[in-house]
């Protein structure tokens, strides 16, 4: 758990961060979102004391961060940065072993943990003897992540971690990132300027402007209950896409056509392969669900709800958009 209360930082005449307070619960992913210069990176770096705050208190697991030597504090907090910052004169295995070495792990323990992580991050052990410049950008990013995770820190700070990747790779990585077992238990604070990334990855978002917190809340809160014009306008550019991302099929379940409309076609036969292959999960966001439609009137897709009544619904794109439209109306008037 990370707690910031009344944290401020000034650089010369610029008030970079002004009276910022928020709490990140254990296991939660908090995204600091804002334009460049809004103070989000400064806020992040104050958590592991790369930057010392002028005022305010930061505590980690209930203990004040300033009580400990900065380097000791940092060894317990993973850090991933936009430009990765791998040591060019260290091999990949040496890069990953930096923190274990500082923590005086045995060679054997380090080796085991390194291989375990490589497997989870889908990196080939062949790369261990290589130098960073011999890897692709995506591979370097994974090594950067492995380096941050190797000592299994409870907290992970990420500064624009996917900033160096192109858009296509980035959305793939988001899915993969979400699915990483290693990250599920971690308390994560991530900085990004990309609204879609924030929506893809955050449990909660902290929107910042000019060094101050504008709004803290879930993606849905920001989308449908912005606190002011700034918050509204910040999302306007990508509003439709965000709404698609925010809503899951199961959220619209009641608004979709009743199971009565299930077509008794060959596809529904239990003999034609496993159910899971034929039905999509209702946990999918509308954004991802759309990719299964061909946008013709006769193209129906079936979704399955894990539990509850009406556990399978089959509908076409038009029916989905109608349901989505009604869902939007409900949210706005809530």
């Amino acid at each position: 758990m990370i707690e910031l209360s009344g944290v401020s930082k000034r650089f010369g005449n610029t008030q970079a961060v002004k009276d910022v307070s928020f709490t990140v619960e254990s296991g939660e992913t908090m995204v600091l979102l804002g334009t460049s210069g809004c103070g989000k990176t400064t806020t992040l770096k104050m958590i592991n004391r790369l930057i010392e705050p002028d005022a305010g208190k930061i505590s980690i697991h209930g203990q004040s961060a300033s009580d400990e030597k900065p380097e000791m504090l940092r060894r317990k907090i993973g850090y991933v940065m936009q430009n990765i910052g791998l040591f060019p004169h260290y091999t990949i295995s040496e890069n990953i072993a930096i923190v274990p070495k500082l923590l005086k792990w045995t060679v054997e323990k380090t080796r085991e943990r390194t291989h375990e992580l490589l497997e989870k991050l889908r990196l080939s052990p062949d790369c261990l003897a290589l130098f960073p410049h011999e890897l692709s950008g995506g591979q370097q990013q994974r090594v950067g992540l492995a380096r941050a995770l190797v000592a299994d820190p409870a907290i992970l700070l990420m500064d624009e971690p996917f900033g160096a990747l192109d858009n296509v790779t980035r959305s793939e990585i988001h899915v993969e990132f979400k699915a990483l077992e290693e990250l599920k238990r971690k308390t994560i604070v991530m900085v990004t300027h990309d609204v879609q990334e924030a929506f893809d990855l955050a449990d909660r978002i902290c929107l910042m402007n000019k060094g101050e917190v504008v709004q803290i809340g879930t993606a849905k809160d920001l989308l449908y209950r912005p606190v002011n014009d700034f918050a509204r306008q910040f999302l306007d550019g990508a509003r439709l896409a965000l709404e698609f991302k925010c809503a899951r099929i199961k959220d619209l379940w009641e608004l979709l056509p009743q199971p009565a409309t299930i077509r008794n076609d060959a596809a529904f036969s239990k003999d034609s392969g496993g159910i899971k292959d034929r039905f999509q999960s209702a946990d999918l966001s509308v954004w991802l669900a759309i990719t299964y439609f061909n946008f013709t009137e006769n193209d129906y897709v079936s979704f399955i709800l894990d539990n509850g009544p009406g556990w399978i619904k089959t509908f076409n794109f038009q029916e989905l958009s109608q349901a989505f439209y009604r869902y939007q109306q409900q949210n706005i008037h809530e």
Partner: protein, 535 residues
């Protein structure tokens, strides 16, 4: 060409012991200074990389040190460190400092900031960041600085011979003074070879995969340099300590002779042969010799009899009672083609004939060397006092080129001649002052780069003509005979004419501090020998 190579190799072979010891001294000076410069420059560079506000001050100061002319720097050091290897090493250190500090600073500040931030964020402390990240990544740049410093040092170390620290400069500057190309090359070729090979070795080190070598290579380099410096130190200081011991006891005297004097028949060789003088001797530059005598670093020096510093530093000339120093009457020497081209020239130059005696010349030299008056002013004052000064005519005739060697007296003479020519003719004058030693000046004359310069009969005889011993003995100290001989020989051999002598005789002379001379009652070279032999 083949002939010449033969003699160069012969010379090097004959002098091989000296060559080896000079090379060892040269390397010793270079490496010791380099190790010290690394020991000072590297931490200083790291310091200013951390405390940036100090950077411009430190780099600026090191930059200023770099611009001090080497001979001036050596001069400053005599009162502080005396002569020998110590001041030479300090001077070399001063020159090596800037490239090392600057490259350390640039190297460290040039390390990718993301990598440094990552190192901090992973929990490395300041020391770990410096030694595991910043220094290894800055190493190629730092090594480049060390490489620059090493090559500078090999070059500057030739000047160590100016203050009796030895090195290959002894051959180079001795050769220039003695008009001995083989001697010059015997010093210059090894020096160039040392510079090139050191540069090559360090460039290989720099190109090695620093990423893989990391700090090991650097530690290795420093160790190698330290060992070399340590090994070479005793060899280098051997000379030095000897000198210090004898002068501190006070029983014995030490001589400081110029490289030119060391190699001349009418110099050290003659002193040994004719007087049988055996005195511990150190080789030192003409520019620093008088000061070193004044500072009691050395006792007997090979000065010039009209030098202004005689007066400035309270030195006295020891009488050459057996007559080994031939006359050195100052005479303008002119290419004959120039005499045809400038018909009025000879008459104008001869206006000065017989006008300056030894005492007058010492005084004129004293004014420039010690009172720091400009040669122009001294020349003008002198011409006024003897009634020869005329305002320049500002004519627009042909351009006449006056040469001079690189010491005060010649500058004054060049200015006097310029004023005489500008006042009495319509020729325009260009002065090419400071043409190094005899060889450079004379080569310039023969190759039509200058039209005339003041030369000395003794130099013409012994350095440029170098006749047989028998002929020299016959002429002895006879002024007229020497003058006639060189004039005739130069006209035949070089088509160069000696005009009328100016009047003073600037010969070699042994000199010592006036006080010491009185204290030990030594006024002639024979007395000096007796004193040395009995003590």
């Amino acid at each position: 060409m083949n002939d010449r190579q033969q003699t160069l190799w012969n010379f090097m072979w004959e002098q091989k012991d000296k060559l080896v010891s000079q090379t060892v001294q040269h390397l010793g000076l270079t490496f010791t200074a380099l190790v010290l410069a690394i020991a000072i420059g590297l931490p200083l560079g790291m310091f200013i990389a951390r405390k940036r506000k100090w950077a411009s001050g430190v780099l600026g100061f090191a930059g200023v040190l770099q611009t001090i002319p080497s001979i001036a720097l050596l001069g400053f050091m005599i009162p502080l460190l005396g002569i020998g290897a110590r001041p030479a090493i300090v001077a070399l250190l001063v020159y090596a400092l800037l490239p090392i500090i600057r490259n350390t600073y640039t190297g460290i500040t040039g390390v990718n900031r993301d990598v440094v931030e990552a190192a901090n964020a992973l929990g490395m402390n300041k020391k770990q960041v410096l030694f595991h990240v910043e220094l290894p990544l800055a190493m190629p740049v730092i090594l480049a600085g060390i490489r620059t410093a090493a090559v500078i040092n090999i070059g500057v170390a030739t000047l160590a011979s100016f203050i009796a620290a030895g090195g290959l400069g002894e051959f180079i500057f001795g050769g220039i003074s003695l008009n001995n190309s083989n001697m010059i090359l015997a010093g210059a070729i090894p020096a160039a070879f040392l510079a090139i090979s050191l540069d090559f070795l360090l460039s290989r080190l720099q190109k090695l995969d620093m990423i893989k070598l990391k700090k090991i290579s650097f530690v290795g380099l420093v160790l190698i340099l330290a060992v070399l410096g340590y090994k070479l130190w005793p060899l280098m200081m051997a000379d030095d300590d000897h000198g210090h011991d004898v002068s501190s006891i006070g029983a014995k005297l030490t001589a400081g002779f110029t490289p030119e004097f060391m190699g001349r028949q009418d110099g050290d060789l003659g002193l040994k042969a004719v007087y049988g003088l055996k005195i511990p001797t150190r080789v030192i530059s003409d520019a620093l010799m008088y000061k070193a005598a004044y500072e009691k670093e050395i006792d007997v020096i090979s000065g010039y009899s009209t030098d202004g510093r005689l007066k400035a530093f309270d030195l006295v000339v020891l009488k050459d009672d057996k007559g080994i120093f031939p006359p050195y009457d100052a005479v303008p020497i002119v290419r004959q083609t120039a005499l045809k081209k400038f018909p009025q020239l000879e008459a104008v130059l001869n206006q000065l004939a017989g006008k300056i005696n030894d005492a007058t010349m010492i005084d004129l030299n004293y004014r420039t060397d010690y009172l720091k008056q400009s040669p122009e002013r001294v020349a003008k004052d002198f011409l006024m006092s003897v009634g020869l000064y005329k305002n320049p005519r500002n004519g627009n005739g042909e351009v006449l080129r006056i040469g001079s060697k690189i010491f005060g007296e010649q500058y004054i003479l060049a200015q006097i001649y310029r004023m005489l020519i500008e006042g009495n003719t319509n020729y325009q004058v260009a002065t090419k002052s400071g043409l190094g030693g005899t060889k450079i000046c004379f080569d310039a004359l023969v190759n039509d780069q200058i039209d005339f310069y003041p030369e000395y009969t003794g130099t013409g005889l012994l350095v440029l003509l170098a006749p047989a011993q028998s002929l020299l003995k016959e002429m002895g100290q006879d002024k007229e005979k020497v003058y006639d001989y060189v004039n005739k020989a130069f006209q035949q051999k070089y088509q160069v004419k000696w005009l009328k002598p100016i009047g003073f005789n600037n010969s070699y002379a042994l000199m010592m501090r006036e006080k010491q001379s009185k204290a030990i009652r030594v006024t002639t070279i024979t007395e000096l020998k007796k004193y040395i032999d009995t003590n």
